[in-house]
Symmetry: C2
Subunit: 355 residues, 2 copies
């Protein structure tokens, strides 16, 4: 989650070389927490092992088969409950958001629970109810699932796993390769709230602040964008693990384009800013659970922003930058002081079990 300060030209060139290189190979000998953190190690695992094994081409959080979007998600957040939500809500919203990012109206989901022997039944009941409530709110049906129990110590209370399906909206033509130079980059609201709320809930730093996770369904936001921009909406991504920085890096690599972000235009809240400063982290790398990044054609950016701001939870949506042709695969940030730095992919696993 920490950004590495990069001011030497050589370093920039080295990164450009990496970004231009072919698919990474998965060479690690053991799995580390970094493989689950959404950064470079995760990418190596996915692009180097999983995608070739399953013959998956363009990577996204949802696959599309015959106009049906399908997504899968695992949830291992710790603690199970945190200000603004819990693992149950996260499971529903995380799943419907992956569908929404594929331009699909969420329809149904399944829920698989891996429970630890000895789990308090009230905790289970509470999370089942959280799932049911979030599903009603998001307008999806829980159509089934599976429950497995493992011995005491073989899991950490409960892990949830969901799969969702939805029908792709006929107006949606969303894909990383549709991102083109000139596109405006929009974020749907203040960033870094979920990850910061989890850190606060874990008591990892001494900051007495009221901060809630931003967990919510993003389908209403997507629907508003599709209505306003149609095919001029080029790509969507929810900025979960690894934050906005990771979403931008992944998409720029896939699109072979560059993103230029103006730091001063990125919406944040005072609490997230204070917490980030205290820990020396960049909120751009902190997880969100109810924020999206949208790429829209320049002529429609104003209308798209207006439509988005009318949606609950997106009132502070903003254009934070634009897409350029060069250097391909890179994300550059214009700092508030007028400098430019590379916003690289996340390395390591500073905050495991964020979702």
């Amino acid at each position: 989650m920490t950004t590495r300060s990069v001011d030497r030209e050589t370093r920039v060139l080295e990164i450009i070389e990496t970004a231009r290189a072919k698919r990474p190979r998965f060479r690690d000998e053991r799995i580390t927490l970094a493989h689950g953190a959404g950064g470079k190690a995760t990418q190596t695992l996915i692009e180097g092992l999983l995608a070739p094994a399953f013959g998956i081409g363009e990577l996204a959080d949802a696959g599309v088969v015959e106009n049906i979007a399908i997504t899968a998600d695992g949830f291992v957040v710790k603690p199970l409950r945190f200000p603004g939500g819990s693992i149950g809500e996260l499971a529903v919203n995380g799943t419907v958001n992956d569908l929404a990012m594929a331009g699909a109206r969420p329809l149904a989901l399944t829920l698989t629970m891996i429970l630890e022997e000895g789990l308090d039944a009230d905790t289970l009941r509470r999370e089942v109810e959280a799932v049911a409530r979030a599903a009603r709110k998001a307008g999806v049906t829980v159509v089934g699932g599976d429950t497995k129990v493992v011995e005491r110590g073989a899991a950490d209370q409960m892990y949830l796993s969901t799969m969702g399906i939805g029908f792709v909206d006929p107006r949606a033509e969303l894909a990383p390769h549709r991102i083109v130079p000139g596109d405006r980059v929009i974020v749907s609201g203040p960033i870094g709230e979920h990850g910061t709320a989890i850190m606060l809930a874990r008591g990892e730093f001494d900051l007495d602040a009221e901060l809630q996770s931003d967990t919510r369904s993003l389908w209403p936001a997507v629907e508003a964008l599709l209505q306003a921009a149609g095919a001029d909406l080029h790509c969507l991504r929810d900025a979960t693990r690894g934050g906005v920085a990771s979403a931008l890096n992944e998409l720029m690599r896939a699109a072979g384009a560059a993103a230029l972000v103006r730091e001063a235009d990125v919406p944040t809240t005072p609490i997230v800013r204070a917490a980030s400063e205290l820990l020396g982290i960049d909120p751009m790398y902190v997880a969100n659970e109810g924020k999206l990044v949208a790429f829209v054609a320049p002529q429609i950016a104003g209308a798209a922003l207006e439509a988005l701001r009318a949606i609950e939870g997106c009132e502070r949506a903003a254009v934070i930058g634009e897409v350029a042709a060069e250097p391909p695969g890179m994300v550059l940030v214009e700092t508030s002081f007028g400098g430019r730095r590379v916003m690289d992919q996340l390395v390591g696993a500073p905050l495991p079990r964020i979702c």
Copy 2:
């Protein structure tokens, strides 16, 4: 997995009372391994907590929304590898089989992995390849997934979770309520192989035998049955956790009918019989991963059986009994000695982490 010997009339009546009673309530204070074992505790959890919370009516392993069958499965089998398969194969076959039981041709699946920090990369690679291979064999596409990593000790090497979707075959009219008195009960081959293979792999008893798990895709078997019987095929269920006995009990409760099984007609192998005798267990309660139970109208039973036997892995399919009107919700077994006993639901968790 052990059957309780029941020879007193009072016990039979008591069970009939229970079967006729309304939905169970989930009253347990803590989760135990029994909640994941596929027997009574699992049923209480599902019918008493999950189904009401999610508004799910008739229970099956796959839900159907607008002609799309959807299923979810979790896999926590221990050991990860066993004769005849591994967790990766199990994940694919278990998922496509749930779809097949809904009469749906499996189309695509997603894979979520919860990995333990420190997991050997070769183990991961091997299971990813097992998933890819089983998927190709079953004719399904792995369209995506999710990977989470938890700390050392917070999971047992790896848990897998899948979701599958498929299109319901237009010939299929399958539901527990279609089971009617007179229906013949078919099993697709020798029972108890998966569970016994797992027990052998765990070294839990001293029996030097070559036994392989029966893990395989059952869609070819279902297609053959649909072709032969059409709408006269009334219901299907794969006999996984809790074995054939649990599948029959669940379906008889749902159908409000009785099943009468002739023990002598149930196909088994010498190794499974020997292992069962040694442990004092009944193979009817032992898990299968490539066997189904089918309910067909009597006039078509011969043709259905013949069609089934032409399919690889189903050569020893057999009619093992029939459906009666009374006593509703019960499964009765005619033993080889001519006696009758109740084949009740599984109580407790004799073999956790079987799948």
